[in-house]
Symmetry: C2
Subunit: 212 residues, 2 copies
DNA sequence: TGTGTCACCGACCGTTCGTTCAGTAGACCG
DNA sequence: CGGTCTACTGAACGAACGGTCGGTGACACA
């Protein structure tokens, strides 16, 4: 009874132009599998042997594609943060009322989170043990500040309730968003938009049924 | 530059009756420190050497108090789940309208989460790698079902909005609650009740400022 | 058939891991 | 002082860890 699913030999070049040389994995396919296994067992709880088994190769083969375990982590975390920051640069996140920009970032984050689930999940579990993790935490902190600023602006505009601390509110909001990685299963139907709709509804109008 | 704070030699018997024998740690003080370090570096990322350093003893000393690393994890997880389930057994969680019971459990969870922060944090990070972790995940699942049932009842009562899936809603709600472990710092003032108030307000009425 | 290119194997290295064990040290009581 | 309780040390163990290296296998194109 294996702890991880069968070897992922769908591998690299199932799509795109075929390259010369022996077929098999490439750096990207290794990263994709690694991120999945890191999520199943935790980064520290995953050995290179575990990764090799999931890839269907010996562990020395992995070093042909990446320099080591930490590079896999770094690339995964960078990929996740890049995607999140891209959302904050979109037009909907930079123009208009603060509360609408906030909604845009929330919906965009849900989308990124679902599209890049393994990488974002990894990002949200980082503890800061190594330099690579510390750097990711630093980027996350910048993202969080950006959200808190949006909430503050929303309060000033009179669109966001003023009886809760914006710092606390923004953290609770994205606690809600980020929790998606804990239970979302890509296979189980449930489109990204449905989740985003439910999220925005609860976040902005609350759980309580409207009075009439 | 140490990665963890100075040795915790406030130790066991700072409070309560003094026992006979050489002074130092006991099983409980070891557990308390262990849970803290597990949170800082992750369970798998923490070596017995790390624990020993944080305790101010050699690692062999730890085995005088507990049978091993997994026992520390098991006791920590059990402690957290016991506290959470105690909330669900309180009167406020078993009588009255569903939406009020839900609020009671949410407030109680926030309290437990703040009081037993290291243990609950550990619980929320469990991946299911070992039997001990699998058992904890099983208990968590039972807790989650209980919440989902409350939301469903609330919808039937007409108190909870019916345009979001109760399963999704309950997960988002407790995603919000659980996110507290990611940013709450006990020292930084911010009482447990203030957080619970902000949480309940956002959860039930939403972020948007009321119309008048 | 030969050549270039890329993917991989298997044996091995030094280190760190969780754990064990025989012995030691300090505080209290008589 | 001796006796008893509890807490701890230091050296060692086998296993597992991340990583290295020289050699081999499989395809594309000529």
């Amino acid at each position: 009874m294996a702890r991880t699913s069968a070897p992922d030999d769908s591998a690299a070049r199932s799509t795109g132009r075929r390259r010369s040389g022996r077929p098999g994995h490439d750096a990207d396919s290794v990263l994709r599998v690694a991120a999945r296994v890191f999520n199943e067992r935790g980064y520290d709880g995953t050995s290179m042997e575990d990764l090799a088994r999931a890839l269907g190769v010996t562990k020395s083969a992995i070093y042909h594609h990446v320099s080591g375990k930490t590079e896999l982590l770094r690339r995964s975390l960078d990929l996740a943060m890049d995607a999140l920051f891209e959302v904050t640069g979109e037009e909907g996140a930079t123009t208009g009322r603060a509360i609408d920009r906030l909604e845009h970032v929330m919906r965009g984050s849900v989308r990124v989170l679902v599209e890049e689930l393994p990488h974002v999940t990894l990002l949200l579990r980082v503890r800061g043990n190594t330099d690579v993790e510390k750097r990711a935490l630093e980027r996350r902190r910048r993202f969080d500040h950006l959200i808190a600023d949006l909430v503050r602006e929303g309060v000033v505009d009179g669109d966001v309730r003023s009886d809760v601390d914006p710092a606390v509110a923004s953290r609770l909001l994205f606690g809600m968003v980020n929790s998606i990685v804990e239970w979302y299963k890509p296979d189980r139907g449930l489109a990204c938009e449905e989740i985003a709709d439910a999220l925005v509804r609860i976040a902005f109008q609350g759980m309580r049924a409207s009075k009439e």
